[in-house]
């Protein structure tokens, strides 16, 4: 039972880390960034480059944040910005971008699976159970992400402007808030978060050109039911991630793989606002 609870908590933490970048972008821009998987992949390769240079694995976190931020700047300026008024075209454009980034990575590093050494190995003894140290670290990381993003949104002027844009973009612009600057910065932060998430999952995953793909559907569904609130995303991760672990443990891991998608679809049917408050 203890193991099961730990599985639920750590799975929710990983889902939250992976989905938070997508949520940032969706919240402000109302655009689903389908290149999210490619940003995850970029983060995975960033950690591979860092470890191959002989640096400590933890250096890959700042490096991948920087890579994601810079990539986000370019993508926002040249691909997303011209498509603000056409959200459907933006979905197609980001989807295409994901394919292009994947192919560039394939050309540069090959199709094969790359290895990144893990920063920590082995298991911790938690109240009699033995549990993966790294997964427990990820819970702490998820908490840090919540605190930092929460602080950014609620404690800074940029956060205030961002919330204003989320609530009513036309009104915010009328008040003199540069919504294009808010959109630009949000996209960069979202891309940086996605890239950092890619780095954070490398100790649990392989690094290959398609490493981001399995995460997209789950992250997408979680964001759909969370609207634009970090708190509802955290709630969605615990509830749906918990359901996934429960189904995988007590029914069948193959069914567990579709749990999040099915439950999210059902939830949106019954309660269109999902976990968000109205």
């Amino acid at each position: 039972m203890l193991n099961f609870s730990l599985d639920v908590v750590t799975t929710a933490a990983i889902l939250f880390i992976v989905a938070s970048g997508l949520l940032m972008i969706f919240g402000v821009m109302k655009i689903i960034n389908f290149s999210h998987g490619a940003f995850l992949t970029v983060g995975g390769y960033a950690s591979m480059i860092v470890t191959q240079c002989g640096l400590n694995w933890w250096w890959s976190l700042p490096f991948s944040l920087a890579c994601g931020f810079v990539l986000g700047m370019l993508v926002e300026r040249f691909i997303v910005r011209p498509l603000y008024a056409r959200p459907l075209d933006a979905i197609l454009a980001t989807w295409g971008l994901g394919i292009i980034v994947g192919q560039i990575i394939t050309l540069a590093f090959g199709r094969g699976v790359q290895m990144v050494a893990s920063p920590v190995n082995g298991a911790l003894h938690v109240a009699g159970a033995q549990y993966s140290t790294y997964r427990l670290i990820l819970v702490a990381v998820a908490v840090v992400v919540v605190l930092v993003l929460g602080g950014l949104l609620n404690g800074t002027r940029l956060g205030l402007q961002t919330r204003a844009v989320i609530m009513n973009e036309a009104l915010a612009r009328g008040l003199g808030i540069s919504s294009s600057r808010v959109r630009f910065l949000t996209f960069c932060v979202g891309a940086a978060l996605a890239s950092a998430a890619g780095t954070l999952i490398t100790p649990l995953s392989s690094v290959d050109p398609n490493m981001g793909v399995p995460w997209i559907v789950g992250a997408f569904m979680l964001v759909m039911v969370s609207g634009s609130s970090l708190v509802s995303l955290a709630l969605a991760c615990v509830m749906l991630g918990g359901a996934q672990v429960a189904v995988s443990t007590y029914v069948n891991p193959v069914l567990g793989g579709v749990t999040i998608a099915v439950l999210a679809a059902l939830l949106l049917r019954l309660r269109p606002e999902g976990f968000a408050r109205g």
Binding site: N3, Q114, S132, L204, S205, S206, S248, V254
Partner: protein
């Protein structure tokens, strides 16, 4: 998207020195005029799931054809390789086989492919009456009048691992984990039967979809079941790596047999792979003159571009020589004569003496090896002439 391009076959010129290219092209054209060329079709997954291993398969085919041409070809005819991308799947394979058999009119098909691609290609092989040597290990029991297999089936691979765990670690209870697809399930179904037949117990048998990457609930079940040993059969590449990493991160230390890891992957996985047991019909450090000669020739032919020869590429090399031997025994390229001859000939290759005489399948020497801390493989035991069992009892 792959399917768009996958039916595009291209010839791989198989001449040695580049300076000689023009001259030998003229010579080849002359030879072709004199006696015609022999075309060997190689449908292989240059894109898709097999794209990591396919280049090594094409390389060993090139070496075999080069060597054969240097010694006068097959029955005096120059051999030409025709490689086609099958996209690692059924749709691509149909186009690739169709194009090779009916458009390029190849004399034989010799290739390593996914089971899906093989199954899609077989009706075309039957219609085109083309001899076909399948050179990939697979889940077994695929039978066709024109097909031979010179790689292993579960009956040959699984037994050494289970036997060793039972003998060495006195393992009684086993936990099985796999990817949810034909090969993964086929391997573990066989493993389960084999364990139960030999007095062991399977305390868990779990699958994750092929694109799944979170093994957490399965690992928790494994730890709750407290088995003596673990055997896995995932899809190659990413699933194998994620599972192994997560097992190590969770502190799983029981004996671990991996039915799907190859030498190259084990090598690059580093410390995570240490201690894993693997079983196969080829490892690079087989200490025989034939293997040393093969590795030296590969090194000389491809230099820095060499893809490490492996359990999927070496059978391709041997199969081309087996086809040559069969044609020479039959004294003709006629399918009706070549197909029965394929069961009668043998070739001394890197894996030993290969003879496809057991219901279209091949008794093989199997190696049980353990991954060392530096990523190299240490052969723990080898079993000579492991029988493939009854694969195609109804084929004549």
């Amino acid at each position: 998207m792959n399917a768009l391009f996958s039916s595009f076959p291209f010839s791989v010129r198989t001449f040695g020195a580049r300076a000689m290219l023009a001259a030998s092209m003229a010579a080849a054209a002359h030879a072709a005029l004199a006696a015609g060329t022999v075309k060997i079709g190689v449908p292989v997954g240059l894109s898709g799931a097999n794209s990591v291993v396919a280049p090594s398969v094409v390389q060993s085919a090139q070496l075999a054809v080069d060597q054969i041409n240097a010694k006068g070809g097959i029955l005096g005819r120059h051999v030409e390789l025709v490689v086609a991308d099958d996209g690692s799947g059924a749709a691509g394979a149909q186009k690739a086989f169709d194009s090779l058999v009916f458009d390029k009119k190849v004399n034989a098909l010799i290739s390593m492919e996914t089971s899906a691609a093989r199954n899609a290609g077989l009706p075309i092989v039957t219609r085109g009456r083309t001899p076909y040597i399948y050179t990939s290990f697979y889940e077994g029991h695929s039978c066709n009048r024109y097909m031979y297999v010179d790689a292993w089936v579960p009956d040959q691979q699984v037994a050494p691992v289970v036997d060793y765990f039972m003998k060495q670690y006195h393992a009684k209870s086993f936990f099985l984990i796999g990817s949810d697809y034909a090969f993964g399930r086929g391997m573990l179904d066989f493993t389960k039967n084999y364990i139960e037949k030999h007095g062991g117990k399977v305390v868990g048998n779990e699958y994750l979809p092929m694109d799944g990457s979170d093994w957490t609930p399965i690992i928790s079940k494994l730890q709750a079941a407290k088995p003596d040993a673990l055997i896995t059969s995932t899809a190659g590449g990413a699933p194998n790596v994620t599972l192994t990493k997560q097992l190590r991160a969770a502190g799983v230390k029981i004996p671990y047999g991996n039915l799907a890891v190859d030498e190259g992957t084990a090598k690059s996985m580093g410390p995570d792979a240490q201690g894993i047991y693997i079983s196969g019909s080829y490892v690079t450090n087989i200490d025989t003159p034939a293997n040393h000669a093969f590795l030296a020739a590969m090194q000389k032919r491809f230099g820095a571009d060499l893809k490490t020869p492996n359990d999927l590429s070496v059978p391709e090399y041997e199969a081309i020589y087996l086809y040559k031997a069969a044609v020479e025994k039959a004294g003709s390229f006629d399918t009706a004569k070549v197909v029965p001859a394929l069961a009668q000939v043998s070739f001394d290759g890197p894996r030993g003496t290969i003879r496809m005489d057991k219901e279209r399948h091949t008794p093989l020497t199997m190696y049980l090896a353990q991954v060392q801390p530096d990523g190299s493989l240490k052969v723990i035991e080898s079993d000579k002439n492991v029988d493939p069992g009854d694969q195609c009892p109804h084929l004549k």
